[in-house]
Symmetry: D2
Subunit: 280 residues, 4 copies
């Protein structure tokens, strides 16, 4: 599948997070430990918010992240308080820019690890459920982008957890209609530039790994020398497919069937349950 990382907190050079940690996302592109594949070389993307930016900037490429010089340049020169990064391991769909994460709609940015099982069977029915006004904006052929557009259809911009729950509910319902036992497998991150939501859910309750970083003050107490959190403010938070290193006390698993929200007024973690949607 894929690996991803979401950062929210003190503005930081992207490379501090993307390249510096011992088991950084770039290292994971060659040597993922917890993924289905050790190699995540089928494209990558990075999306960031910055001062005065109405919409996130999103740079995506189809080659591997580990050798991409432009990613290195951007990471070494751009600071951001809120950014996503994603490395892709295609499960069959084309290696093309429009299939790379993150996806964007207005201020909203979305990335996904996992898959809709038997997607070729469900693809058409799910595509039909997308708001016809949004339909022409889908450019790629992934389940991930389609999940984003379903969530948008179901009100992502007003109620992110509710919209994602309805999206997952629809996928499961359409899956059942096609005899797919475990249709949904997802860890998802989504942001509007202010808050950051992360979801961990699969129909079978065996979801790909997802971790969040401990409170900065406690990490700092444990590991006063950890460079990439040195200047981090207390509300800085990382959510990652797999830990960026082995240090004890830094990384906590997001429980199965859970979503979290990171936002200025305080973080939170709650159960995630798909909601039924009547789609015909």
């Amino acid at each position: 599948m894929c690996r991803w990382l979401a950062y929210s907190g003190t503005p930081v050079l992207l490379e501090t997070i993307l390249y510096r940690p011992e088991h950084s996302l770039i290292d994971q592109s060659l040597h993922s430990r917890m993924g289905v594949e050790t190699t995540n070389g089928d494209g990558f993307g990075v999306g960031w918010f910055g001062p005065e930016m109405e919409t996130p900037a999103i740079v995506r490429e189809i080659g591997p992240a580990w050798s991409n010089r432009n990613l290195r340049e951007i990471a070494g020169h751009v600071r951001s308080p809120l950014f996503f990064a994603h490395i892709r391991a295609s499960t069959g769909s084309a290696v093309q820019q429009t299939n790379c994460h993150p996806f964007r709609h207005g201020r909203w940015m979305w990335m996904h690890n996992g898959a809709i099982a038997d997607f070729h069977k469900l693809h058409r029915d799910l595509a039909l459920a997308v708001d016809p006004r949004l339909y022409p904006d889908m450019e790629g052929s992934t389940d991930s982008e389609l999940m984003f557009f379903l969530a948008l259809t179901f009100g992502l911009e007003e109620d992110p957890p509710g919209a994602v729950a309805r999206m997952a509910g629809l996928v499961e319902e359409v899956g059942r209609e096609h005899g797919v036992e475990y249709p949904m497998q997802m860890t998802v991150a989504v942001t509007d530039g202010r808050s950051l939501w992360a979801f961990r859910y699969s129909t079978q309750a065996r979801t790909r790994s997802l971790y969040y970083s401990s409170r900065v003050e406690s990490v700092r107490a444990l590991h006063p020398d950890l460079p990439y959190l040195r200047e981090a403010s207390d509300e800085t938070r990382l959510i990652v497919s797999e830990p960026l290193g082995d240090l004890p006390g830094v990384w906590n698993e997001v429980p199965e069937g859970t979503y979290g929200v990171v936002r200025p007024e305080g973080d939170d973690m709650l159960p995630f349950v798909p909601r039924p949607v009547r789609h015909r």
Copy 2:
């Protein structure tokens, strides 16, 4: 838009046709004379049949044809009796391999110059009309690929002219429903590896240019030194978006609203009229 070329006849090194002529397709990628744009640099593709080949080989890339070394290598080393080549000028859809022509389904190969007007308005309704069993095989986001899959839905493999007529009929009907005055603009080539069909049609009867080469014996009589037809058998035929040179007597315009078929048992040219399709 785009430029394309279809060849059927004596097996020939691809470069003889693709690179050698004075105003070759490669030259047209930089200096098209009859296209909407002089530059066709948004990807290219070549598809060829060869001895013992069940399906055509198709090589597509997203960069310009003029500088592509792999295309030069293939053209300089592959012989074929039946091949397509296409250079793309995107009208907005993503520059990605799955949007490059030719498209393939089994033995069938398809390429297109033109556009469905206001495609973003018609896209969804047209996609819904594709046979659900074929739907998941669409990988790109172009009108051209969708036209191919509609033609397949309407029986391309049994009756190519009829299926293309129904495809065009559907596009015009859906266009009318959305208030699009002139929905269809197309020159299309399609082959099953044995016969080659070419269509020139637009709702407004102002279709992009399309030419076919004169009978080889008459060309040879006029221009005994023309290298790329020197070894060509009498039944060799080229169909092109624009002539590969200025020689008189070589190129003939395919009339508006016409299709032609090139095949072992003799070529033919007939009127093309879209057929109504009841799509709901």
Copy 3:
């Protein structure tokens, strides 16, 4: 050949300069008016300085600029007070990232339009003249990068005009030794992040075009509505291969055999004369 643009002045979103003007560099990538070729589609690069940046960020790609989405993203989200942009039309050397401009060495950034005539004859002798400590840092195969490394060898970091003059002198001397009548053809921009030098010179005194923008206050007086100079400070200056539009009073030709310097303490324009270098 190529087209380039150098900006120094009020920090501005790159797109204001790269995409907005009527005949922007992006427009020039398809429709250059003064270049040898109308199409400049063999790669591009953009390099920018920003706050707290020790070195410029450089993003280079091998496809055409006109369709590159990452360039659009960066241009739409990055502000800079000093940046270079370059679009390439290869005269034969490979289309690869290491042949795209700008080139960088430490804080220094270099870009070039033109060519060393008969470069294949002179290449080896010129490469041998590069400081052996710098030699392994050359990654591409262009005359342009080699010119940069020769200028570095001859003291670019201490005396830019002098180093460029010695570089040009060496090229002309080596050219003469190989019987090349007019070895040098160049417009070059170089910066250390503070000052910006631009050179226009060719052995034959028939150099590719180069223009600089008039003082902002006088442009503003002439064209109060020109959007991309609206917020520009008085010391803002653009140097371009060809004007970004047709407005009278905005663009001035850099004379033959001249170099200019744009810097905080005041701009200047002086004659450029290659200096003899004894290279054996």
Copy 4:
């Protein structure tokens, strides 16, 4: 480093060798077992001879082989009696087409796994030793291409083993001058379209792995069902960086400090010893 494969024998669809075996080269691009890195995703190349071909066709790309659709197409449609395939794991030099193997000069094709140690120190001296008439034909920045051009300089076209021995001798001498203890590490394949030479040598006598296939008749006796040798003539031979599967009796290690030649008049295996070259 890299992985490569050389085939000589009965004309075969490339995919029979490249994709079908259990641990094919494509599998090795993701899961190399004997390489320094498990992933070889920094570009690939395939070069083949065919009927009536004066020179080999060479297709090279900068992305990973495992996801490349054009490689799949070519492999599925091209037959050849003599071909090379190479997957690259860059040790630092740029990921670009001109750094991908195989390299070509006229009829000659060359590929390499390994490295010249401390290449940045030796690069310039070695480049100066290349025949000045050949110098401008070097397009990339790898040690591998430079080794090829040194071998050409030393008479590769007349005496391949002797030229490669002199090339290795020069590399070791220049290495010693720069204080490099073990300068050479190489497995190399080279062909003129008729014979195929393969070399395994390193200064330290710890060379990367290299294997050759047993005589077809004995393999067939052991494994009558092995599909990719089913139609192979007796003189068919494969030389590979690592075995394409685990079957006993199929693969034999090329000994340290050895080269082999595969040719119509009979194969041979001989000791390889670098020859001193006076390079100043």
